[in-house]
């Protein structure tokens, strides 16, 4: 049958030389790409002076830690209550941080949206300053705010407000720019001024989207809020860092478990709310 035809392989090869010639160009491109990726990887390991021989010892030690972690156990009721209180603090930080960041970011995002403020300079400045704020990690903001208002959850709230301000500002302004132009034109054609257009044409379109984005970030902020305690900005991270430092592994695993449960609960709740607000189809 068809295999018979391969007896005249030479003839087929002669008719389609481009298929049978090894494609050096394509192959060399793939090899160069992979080589570069691996090269940088190896360079990184050498440059960072990563002691690969410590890898096996470390993994062995990790195994030991893991054994010590089981079963998770807060040790005493008093500590369990402290941990729960810290968790409450974390959730408060996440909630107020997200809310504050969103409230502050909303006017800023209007300035940064090209279809609201037509002035190029304002637009450029707003964008760049949002980028600058966004470039500073939450943990760094926490460090700064601890310096200003002292240790405690309040510094954490302010840190989240700051980093969310940058993130939301960018997300919001992109959502606003992606909105449909036609309703705005309709308002203006009916005699409305630019502000009317924004208020009645633009905002009703984007508010549900913005709300859904805020809810989406609530989950990721809960995770951020669990760690800012490491630099002293309140919440469960403080406990966690402390227990790791004193090698109380069962308490560590109890705290991690608490964090997992809290984050999953928030995730579940925020996605339920998002579906309620904008419906399943439009999840960005």
């Amino acid at each position: 049958m068809i295999a018979l035809n391969s007896e005249n392989r030479a003839a087929i090869a002669a008719r389609h030389p481009e298929i049978f010639r090894p494609s050096w160009r394509r192959r060399s491109m793939i090899v160069t790409g992979l080589g570069a990726a691996v090269g940088v990887f190896v360079f990184g390991i050498v440059q960072l002076d990563i002691p690969l021989n410590r890898l096996s010892d470390g993994i062995f030690m990790l195994g030991g830690f893991l054994r010590l972690m089981l079963p998770p156990d807060p040790g005493s009721w008093a500590l369990a209550l402290t941990c729960l209180h810290a968790l409450g603090e974390t959730l408060s930080i996440a909630f107020l941080g997200t809310l504050g960041g969103a409230l502050l970011a909303f006017p800023a995002s209007l300035l940064a949206a090209r279809n609201v403020v037509a002035n190029r300079i304002i637009h450029f400045l707003a964008r760049r300053s949002l980028d600058t704020v966004r470039g500073v990690d939450t943990l760094i903001w926490a460090l700064i705010w601890v310096g200003v208002v002292g240790l405690g959850p309040f510094a954490g709230i302010l840190a989240l407000v700051c980093s969310d301000f940058g993130t939301f500002g960018k997300l919001f302004s992109e959502a606003i720019e992606a909105a449909d132009k036609k309703p705005v034109e309709g308002i203006q054609a009916a005699g409305g001024n630019h502000l009317h257009g924004v208020r009645f044409g633009l905002l009703p379109q984007v508010i549900p989207i913005l709300l859904s984005q805020v809810l989406y970030y609530f989950e990721s902020n809960t995770r951020s809020a669990t760690i800012i305690g490491i630099v002293g900005a309140g919440g469960i991270g403080l406990q966690l860092a402390e227990q790791i430092r004193v090698l109380e592994w069962q308490k560590v695993s109890f705290l991690i478990l608490l964090i997992l449960v809290a984050v999953s609960a928030i995730d579940w709740m925020s996605s339920r709310l998002r579906f309620a607000i904008i419906g399943r189809r439009a999840i960005a």
């Binding site: 030690m61 408060s92 930080i93 909630f95 995770r223 760690i227």
Partner: protein, 295 residues
């Protein structure tokens, strides 16, 4: 003026407005209820989070003062000398920034490879065994939900101070996050090519290689780049817990109140992140435009 709209009799008008009001009443009630809940939540959270407006307003002056301290002395007559004094540690900081980028790169790449391998096991359309899918998913979720800095804290104890725990922490977190995103992409692919390859007698690996991978590769690359962007930020703070990179110098400068050093390092970090964001965004747009040309 000509009246195109006739004036309604009072009774009719009242009837219509009442109708409208009752129609929107339910919506309005929900809005009120929502606002009340929100205010309640804010108050509860404020109480829980020790929010003290008094303390805040009393101490607020410190915030601008803090930033004012960070501004170095600078005059145009001695611009060069002032600048070089401000950025006195530039060679060391550039090296540390380079380290930070490398930590992010090595961590992202290892994590992406791990996520790539695991995502296929977590996809219900490729794996028949519910148990494997369930277990892989839970493992990925665990890696994703525990913040990378917590991994770093623990790894520093196991592997010692230095970039190694930072790289590993980023790698594990990235594996979880990308694995989950990748699996979502894989579950949404067209099933027909997979069936075609299976019907020709392809093994599981071949089905994945030829049926699934060509469909998802460009999406995967785009997600991995986005994660790299995120990991550069993450790597910048790894030094806070002794896991390498520029964070070490930053936290030291903050703790010891070397204000101008703080601002110099912060500026360098922000500039680096902006450049990385710019480049990855360009590459991602290019990737989306290509939408997987072959392989």
């Amino acid at each position: 003026m000509r009246a195109a709209i006739p004036e309604l009799p009072q009774a009719r008008l009242r009837e219509l407005t009442d109708h409208y009001a009752s129609a929107v009443a339910e919506k309005r009630r929900q809005l009120w209820l929502g606002s009340a809940l929100l205010v309640g939540a804010v108050l509860a959270a404020g109480w829980m989070g020790d929010v003290d407006p008094w303390k805040f307003s009393e101490n607020f002056w410190r915030f601008p003062a803090y930033f004012a301290n960070m501004v170095p002395k600078f005059s145009f007559t001695s611009a060069w000398a002032d600048l070089s004094e401000w950025f006195w540690g530039l060679p060391r900081w550039t090296r540390l920034l380079g380290d930070t980028l490398l930590i992010a790169y090595v961590g992202t790449l290892s994590g992406a490879i791990g996520g790539f391998v695991l995502c296929f096991l977590a996809s219900a359309n490729l794996v028949r065994s519910r148990t494997i899918v369930f277990l892989t998913r839970r493992a990925l979720e665990f890696c994703r939900t525990v913040p990378e800095i917590v991994f770093a804290l623990i790894f520093v104890l196991a592997f010692g101070l230095g970039p190694l725990p930072g790289v590993l922490a980023l790698a594990i977190h990235t594996m979880g996050a990308l694995g989950k995103q990748f699996a979502e992409v894989v579950e949404n692919i067209d099933s027909k090519p997979i069936e075609g390859v299976a019907a020709s007698g392809g093994s599981w690996l071949q089905i994945v290689r030829f049926g699934a991978v060509p469909q998802v590769l460009s999406n995967f690359a785009s997600y991995a780049l986005l994660r790299f962007e995120y990991n550069v930020r993450g790597a910048a703070v790894m030094g806070f817990v002794g896991a390498g990179g520029i964070g070490q110098d930053l936290i030291e400068a903050v703790r010891k109140f070397y204000f101008t050093d703080v601002s110099a390092i912060l500026l360098l970090i922000v500039a680096t992140i902006m450049i990385i964001d710019f480049i990855t965004e360009r590459v991602r747009h290019h990737l989306i435009g290509l939408q997987g040309a072959g392989t």
